[in-house]
Symmetry: D2
């Protein structure tokens, strides 16, 4: 059934499997008149693509985007933008051993249960490669948001048990972890290489900050801004939790501590993470997500085949030992898609 | 704009303000032929209503539901169920002091920014009373799910800094905290009464377990089961975070620890919380949410009026010092609405 | 399933059966700050209600609307408007004879096939009374559109085989047919009374003109303005066809005849009916609908019971011998709902 | 904004402009396990493509479809089917003269009004070429429907003032008009060639019959089967009206004539066109549409440029003098998309 679309007015529909012909996306509801080129999209896709460092998979996915529609004379026309990335470097035979076997931590078993059929090559539709379409769509939203002064930056806050201080957002693209602390990033890489050499992987925490959001975005009741952001981000494969502002720590606060005092300049604190009652306050929006360790590890694990017979399985292949650095642009893309939708929904309100 | 509807096939639309004439809900997509009466709804509403114990607000909201449509001879007909609860016991004058003032932690300031107008009485549409419609709709979903052997139980896991062991789910309705541990519940109540006497409030953590879910529910890509549950639950006013299965703790695990081994009987562990790749595994679905302390406290706080002038404000009135016990049925209702929608979406898949 | 909602941004959801407790509607996405009272709604409902003349059913439906939510200090707040009309004067026992029988031309047989259960009293959800919710929602849209200079007027163009000239739109409310020609209206009434005395009913054609629509409304490709208007109007019970501008007559034209020449002032003709490529041209929007004769007639007809056994059936009771005059406000309401949605969708475009 | 998607559960999203890189479609909600190949799609596209006879445009559009996703081992997997047709044979320079001019009967002027920018080459998104995506999606629906015994056949009923008898549906593909009467088809072609030689074009009427539909499909209230079919078909560029069953002729009938008597075998007549109360009766569904003459004619016409200055314009180029034969597969495709959606929605009802 149809779960491949997100957004109400700014609408994004993705398609494609890891080892099919292509992955891609249609973005409907794009503001007409935006100057846009494939390089605007490519720059974001390059942040997501594999092979960026020693701690990302050495798979070669060219990830070269083609814009098929919606552009004329270098500008958007208001009609759907279709963007496609053809798949290359597919070593499909590497997946023959899971034709009838399920890998722990992977969607092999649930896709089989749901559909009764599955494209087992490279996880098919459940592959991280599916996020390329999201990033392409997000790049459009990011460009539209930037025109309004809205900026979205995600970064690795913790990985392999090592935390960062939120020191300097300008270093994020200067280390392979996309961490906000160069020193901690170095320790993370070391830890991850160690785990990888043992055939294992690590998880982490990614934080996202959105600045320049005007007060008043978000749609109560069910489409609250945190509900829509939460849904968008929880729809990324490896994400197992999300918290806004003070997050789970708020459970142990008192009301007098957690309420953010209102002052003439705005708010004295930001425990709310920039959203109250589902609507933006004008402060920075802050949330954090829990990222699970990469499920594909070469360590041998217990599993079953599709007849329920016990087997041992290890996932050789080429996989990221930590998904955090590559999930960063995906989190930014999903946030941008939600915010752009909310900007448009708000524009319709007073009419 | 239109953020008051949730669900694709089983669709729920709520309406109403705290101090307007009524709150209520329309449920569209109800299975025809279900035996249903107002008492099926009322039993859930009674779990949500105020005045249940010393630690819930003594406000008297009759919360008596009327079913206006969709029933014939005691059975659903497949047409929309409209349910309404008229408002009574409204002390609207108690809110005169916030006509031009914003309360910290409340949506007063954001509704004003968004709409340029707000019903300030009892928080208007942003009131917790809005959740009565959700609970009424959820009661219908719960009854349909029960026929399939799906059971949803939420409970307070932590409040005021005191945690429960998950001892016995059968005691949940036997203590005013809706906690799963009678002893801890007693300590929580004591702690909350103490905070209340100081004019303050506390937050907490609520956990939800859903059993009997068959493998195969949930719609990749954007409508993953955890994304839809996450959105539904994050749309409840006081919720600031959600985590599934091992949750944020998974960030510090290795892949070999976090992957749930597959065994002939199912899975050896449940770090995934019953969902992989956005689709149910057949295991118990488990998630936890962070609940912020009640924003309404009698302690004096810094704020501004609607002209930006600094003021001091304290919220007298009748408020819950801890929202956890009353949020429990709302979490169950939202979960039921999502699951019922997914059951119907799955039914459409093989056709 | 969920077919009771229309609109993307300005969204309308109706509920209720003819002989249940109430019928009503929720309107979501209403512009905040609109001055609105129950009398704004009532004036439109009074045009739809039965008992207005000798040729409408003498049933007494009070059709008194209550606004339950979404209003504060006489203004809309941007939250959902819920409106309800309680049912009275229900002579349900009059329908006992169709508990197990199907009336020709009625939805008895199809509801039974679809749902396996039906509220047979007064046609249940398939009753014309369902349109009260539409008219209430339309009244809100009409008021918002009027502020922008958009005016919608429908009228009976033909009934019982008698046609009107489109003489004077100001006489529409001055004759019981809501025809645009007083003289023809008199002939129609005479013809209808004659048919009614024979236990029969008549059909007709209703035309609708929408003026003041700016160029640029409507959303290609699938949500073209004529497609959305067509869907909205074809969803009214008795409507069997719709044509825009020159309509079916265009089939016999040549391109050089049918193309409307563009002139500096706009267009020289209006064969397009005010819409080209799914987008308004700025001209008057014109469409016509075919209205079938009332299915409920006292003449004896062949039918079967719900076991397939042949029976003879005649529908006594109190029914309109021609539905045209009462369908006029419903057509206006549906048109207003579509246009208001399009206005809001266009407002979101340039953002 | 987002008007490029149709369907609730079986969802179709098209993209592409006439002279952009490609046109195409994503179909979400496809039943998994369907055997499908590109030739299943191509056979329908070949019926839509130009250059099929003397009375269709000699433009060479290769119209070769590629399926990019959603297939594995020759079967659908339940994930989105993306299908793309690259554009070739584009003589874009042929459109330089309308860069700043509006053609009568074309969407040039309305796209400019709506978007403030337009791809003027070959009508851009408003081109008939957009329907290739619809036909590709429809081919999938047609194959799924055929498995259930549902068959959809459209044909030209009237063109250039010449009518057919509905003699033999098996001759439809045997004449260039796709008419149901070989003799009338010959007369039509002669008439069209004559008009074409005068630089003019003709309109017509297309009829569609859908057999094998079980009773019970369609969703009251707003998503009635005729409303959804009407919307889908009215969204095709040249369609100016639609009527079901007896259609506009029903306006002159009496109730005793128009009501279809119910008999043990079903119904004695089919004035309703197979739909009552928005739900299928189990009879054949029949509707007719008015098709306007092709707007592109070489006869000189009055128009203005985009500054409002009067001009004379004639559309040379390669255009169909009568669109009926090529609209036939588009009508079938749109009908199939609606019916497939309704089949899936009905499957979700009893759950």
């Amino acid at each position: 059934m149809s779960g491949n679309t997100i957004g109400t007015v700014f609408r994004v529909t993705t398609f494609g499997e890891s080892h099919g012909r292509a992955v891609g996306v249609i973005v409907d509801g794009v503001t007409p008149g935006l100057e846009l080129s494939e390089s605007d999209i490519q720059v974001q896709l390059d942040r997501r693509k594999p092979g960026q460092s020693s701690i990302t998979t050495p798979r070669k996915e060219s990830d070269t985007v083609q814009i098929l529609s919606g552009l004329f004379d270098g500008k958007t026309t208001g009609t759907p933008l279709a963007m496609v990335l053809y798949n290359t470097d597919q070593q499909s035979s590497a997946y023959d051993h899971i034709r009838h076997a399920f890998r722990p931590g992977h969607a092999d078993i649930t896709y089989q249960a749901k559909y009764g059929i599955r494209d087992y090559r490279g996880s098919g539709r459940a592959s991280g490669r599916e996020t390329a379409g999201r990033v392409a769509a997000g790049a459009v939203a990011l460009k539209l948001l930037a025109q309004r002064g809205i900026r979205i930056r995600a970064y690795t806050l913790r990985a392999g048990g090592i935390s960062c201080a939120v020191k300097d957002l300008d270093v994020i693209e200067k280390n392979p972890m996309r961490a906000c602390d160069q020193e901690a990033a170095g320790l993370m890489v070391k830890r991850i290489e160690e785990m990888q050499s043992r055939g294992d992987s690590v998880g982490g925490i990614v934080e996202c900050r959105i600045s320049g959001v005007p007060a008043g975005l978000g749609e109560p009741v069910f489409d609250k801004l945190e509900a829509e952001l939460g849904r968008a981000v929880l729809s990324i494969g490896a994400v197992r939790g999300i918290e806004f502002g003070a997050g789970f720590a708020i459970a142990d606060m008192s009301g007098s501590e957690s309420n953010d005092p209102i002052i003439p300049a705005g708010f004295a604190t930001n425990n709310a993470g920039g959203i109250i009652g589902g609507i933006s306050t004008g402060q920075e929006i802050i949330f954090r997500i829990a990222v699970k360790p990469t499920a594909s590890i070469s360590t041998e694990q217990k599993s079953t085949d599709d007849q329920g017979k016990p087997i041992k399985i290890s996932t050789e292949g080429r996989h990221d030992p930590c998904i955090c650095p590559r999930i960063v642009p995906v989190v930014e893309a999903m946030s941008a898609i939600v915010l752009m939708d909310m900007v448009k929904r708000q524009a319709a309100l007073p009419e």
